[in-house]
Symmetry: C2
Subunit: 724 residues, 2 copies
Amino acid sequence: MWTITETDFAPRHRHHQETIFTIGNGYLCTRGAFEEGDPNDRRATFIHGVFDAAPIVVTELANAPDWLPLTVYAAGERFSLHSGRTADYAQTLDLRQGLLTRTVRWTAPSGRQLHLTFERFASLAEPHTLLLRCRVRPNFAGPIEFRAGLNGDTHNDGLLHWRHLEQRADPATGAVVLLNRTRSSGIDCATAMRLVTATGAELSRQYWDVDNRPALAVTVTGRPAEEIVLDKFVAVYTSRDVPAAEVAAHALAAVVAVPGWDAATAANRAAWAVEWGRTDVEIDGDPEAQIALRFNLFQMLIAAPRHDDRVNIGAKTLSGFGYRGHSFWDTEIFMLPLFTYTAPHIARNLLNYRYRLLPAARAKAAANGFEGAQFPWESADTGEEVTPTWVPDSHDRTRLVRIWTGDIEIHISADIAYAAYQFWQATGDDAWFAAQGAELILDTARFWASRAEWQAEAGRYEYNDVIGPDEYHDHVDNNVYTNHLAQWNLQTAQAVLPWLRAHAPERAAELTSSLDLTPTRLSHWQDVIDKIYLPATPEGVLEQFEGYFQRTEVDLAALEPRTKSVQELFGIEGANATQVLKQPDVLMLQYLLRKHFSDEVVRRNYAYYTPRTDHTFGSSLGPAIQAIMACEVGDPDEAYIHFIRGARADLRDVRGNAGDGIHGASAAGTWQTVVFGFGGLTFDAHGWRTQPRLPRHWQRLTFRFIYHGQPVTVELKNEPAPAD
Amino acid sequence: MWTITETDFAPRHRHHQETIFTIGNGYLCTRGAFEEGDPNDRRATFIHGVFDAAPIVVTELANAPDWLPLTVYAAGERFSLHSGRTADYAQTLDLRQGLLTRTVRWTAPSGRQLHLTFERFASLAEPHTLLLRCRVRPNFAGPIEFRAGLNGDTHNDGLLHWRHLEQRADPATGAVVLLNRTRSSGIDCATAMRLVTATGAELSRQYWDVDNRPALAVTVTGRPAEEIVLDKFVAVYTSRDVPAAEVAAHALAAVVAVPGWDAATAANRAAWAVEWGRTDVEIDGDPEAQIALRFNLFQMLIAAPRHDDRVNIGAKTLSGFGYRGHSFWDTEIFMLPLFTYTAPHIARNLLNYRYRLLPAARAKAAANGFEGAQFPWESADTGEEVTPTWVPDSHDRTRLVRIWTGDIEIHISADIAYAAYQFWQATGDDAWFAAQGAELILDTARFWASRAEWQAEAGRYEYNDVIGPDEYHDHVDNNVYTNHLAQWNLQTAQAVLPWLRAHAPERAAELTSSLDLTPTRLSHWQDVIDKIYLPATPEGVLEQFEGYFQRTEVDLAALEPRTKSVQELFGIEGANATQVLKQPDVLMLQYLLRKHFSDEVVRRNYAYYTPRTDHTFGSSLGPAIQAIMACEVGDPDEAYIHFIRGARADLRDVRGNAGDGIHGASAAGTWQTVVFGFGGLTFDAHGWRTQPRLPRHWQRLTFRFIYHGQPVTVELKNEPAPAD
């Protein structure tokens, strides 16, 4: 249960398969494009933090120089899946060690045959090192030529991000180094390559010094049924890693230091064993759930920055062009719990990214006339807001559509505070909290207090003209999720300050001064906490936003079977006028602040909002949380339907857009469903406990977490149902 | 007086110099970028009609695969102007034969020296053939290596337009062919290359088969003071020229057919002699005017399509990225007179381009609720409107600026009709007029009649909410240029129909039916002609648009010395509120419809509008016409100031944006100033006559034109001023 395999070479599914067969190591990821190229591929390597300016989308991860190119010639005939005939095609991703293998038997137009195997991985042990092996077994005697190159002419859907600086072949080692620089952000990237004939007799070797596409051409004597093995070792450094003047030397040194395929593979496997030892979840009785969960965890593990706290994980991880590598609340609310509880060193890197970008968040708040820290809805390298403001209408190029999320989807600032607090609670890392976490909570609280609008007549504070997580409804007033999280943020800040004074008095004094935490300000915070408007019916049903109850009811069941989202069916304005939800804000809120709501209130809200939600084509963020709340109300069967929908979202390309990259929040959300939903894991002052409510066909569930530095393994079994 | 030379290698002026040293042959043009590359070059080759989609600007001429790459290695050291030392640098453009020559003496870091000469031209005799020669004289004994490539990874400021299809080396001839396809419009382009060592002994030759950058590496024995000569012959075909399946074969055949440098050069020189024999203008007594005029004529000659009537000349010709290759009224009003009177076969191609795109002009009119043909303000391959509608504000990315010219700068439809009529009058080409020209005039007349708004109360027709040539003032009512030209268009259409009935009755019947030219419609046309609103003061000063006289007067002299346009100084809205003109619509009108206005009225309008015009930093279209009208009012000294400003605009980079390409209208406008202004050439029913008013320091002016098929050479001399 550790491998994903495809045995069909289906050109029209290539983009999906490229996403699925992405490999990586938390420094970079490379999509599963073919070494030899393919006319319509979306080949890409994304390196964390290597952003460059782009029209409309502001900035995007620059598709890095391509390290994959390797073409094979059988006595002059170029191998391609589009010429001759192919048989026994298979592509396999081994999740346990991040190894992608492709095998194919190819008959050239001349009738000559090759049996080819391509293997590749990005070393988890040596994160700047990438390895590619090509094994070829001919059925004839004749020359086998390998051409292995580097390509600096990569692009993002036609947009070039790199200039060519220089390149050279190192006379001592034969290694080739290519040097590029991003066109706008000025990041230097060195890519080095070395070619080793591991098995076979080299007839000739040439260096083709073509600008921006340096290549090595190696010819090996082919004999019938004898395997030739060629290894391509690659190393990558950017000026984000080392000084710009040293990137080439570092890449060259790293590629020369590769100890050979077997040793590098062993080191990589060992590094992966550590990761899985911390992260793996075992499910007995449900093979699809088992492999899907591991696949989703793998996607998180290859995207997670281990050695860099200046980067974050994009909504589509590092696996595709979607959302341009920008990070959203997806990180804090969907991905961070996984890392907080299984790899706190990664969670800390991700939170420090936000901490480092507090100055930009303060600038955003100030530009909007507020105090404190207002984090951007979409975030890249600088922490500036990078949400596009106007995008072309797909139907009419003279029209533009205004994107408002960057202006008014403000809940992200509370989400970040929430994740910081959760990390502190889970790790007990007081030093980090005093140095970084507390400031995140206090400065977002300052924002919330200044953003609250006092309505004298009603005697209450309001947050008006916002967008909640449910993006079908925009420009709403008093969104229940936003208002409750803002209140929580302020309450938590009130509690943080006394703690700091008791445990880190110098830091408390520092922050009191720098954040101007005067008694007047704190008293204003308390006033907002006490008088924030939190509308609900007498029965405890929370109104998602003011006026929601008056929107048109839609019988979603009557629309089935559907193939489109409600927004696509009704239009943006049409969907806005209905009660249909892209995802249920109230359930999301009750998941995060579970203890604020009684079981009965949770049940009532679940019953009210569940039939009003576009579960199938709404937000990909929905199913994981919907499943958890189904567990909370005691319906694990219903929970399983949502869980499996989320778990298979990318593997089965349920939404048809997996070619743009992995749905990161959904992938990480499935772990939360399993652990907090089916496992019922909770924490309180006394520690942790589980309240299992496993799907009935699961025999056993084993998961791991770390609590206050202590690794814990939990094994839960379904008791056999009592015989009737 | 036939060469432009620069002897300074100034990196910060490179983009300007690349524009100035553009070569071409009316099929394509190539900017004066260096063969060996330069880090910040804007290297480009533009092929007529090869457009591809681009964000915001809709479509643009795709920078074609690069045929220039040629690097030279002196015993392993790569020649570059940025390494070692350079001396005796000079770049020379020989206008008489379109030949660009660069010479430099280069001392490598090791101390070895090369004397290098690069020559290139695009053959005017064989328009698909491009030739490049490199002559190298070393001061040492050792290998000289030449690497000559083709590069399909070209881009427009970072945007890739080409996919790589395939490439190969022809075993019989050693020629290399590269095949690319535009990403969106699907145009195939084959570029073929052949390398010939004309002088020297080849030591080795390799083909480097790197995808999209095929290269030949040739090493020649170098001996002190002995010259090596290497020729790179290139041929280009696109699927606009021949069927897509045949582009590679055509390019290969063409490159193989190149007869050698000397023979190709002779053929090219002969072809150029014919062009100059038709076009040249000689000015004695003013060397700067002489060379500037020839330079401007050269720019027109290399941009003019000789073998294709599906393309037009862009506002920046084929010499830069500015305006993306889009065509404006610049063609009809500024460039066409040059071709109409010196190369009617070229003028006919340009007019047929409009004729072919009548269906798109009809669609634009219909989409706006009008009848007839409304031509696009910016036009590319399909004739659709390609003016950008919204462009990002350069100061604030969250704001967008609306560009209105594509919606309401409607005078272009009359400008096209005017040029068609002028061509007919000048050539007497009745067959063309019956088949094409008449329909252009009749269908634009239909547009003008339906676009006219009847104001019952005032008893007049108006054209409201338009932009005239003076773009400082937009959304104006009853622009004098637009209204007069519309009236002229309708009047001319009324005259065309009887002529057609008399001389081409079948065509008359055809058009009467297809354009629905009923008596009712013709009577409505007459009604518009009679009742169009044409405001003027009792003294005959035309009001540029309704309310112009009420705008704020600005003392332009008081703002001197300026370095910015009035629009930059006052802002878009600020300039709009003043009387300051980017160019004077009334003078433009009186130039085109000279016989409609008495000398006295012309004088009064000239006196009124001249001091209100931003001559230095307003429109680059202004000086040529201002100069002609200065001649008309008897002030050749004042005329010369405007003339020379326009003539040197690109050579001296007066506006600082020549790096974006040649100002085509200005370049062609200088010819009109000389011929119609200083020469005073006019035509009437009896033929042509001149009314010379030469600048006083000109001793002699000789120009050529063709009238009704008859070539005429006019020589005008300044009579010596009578002694006091």
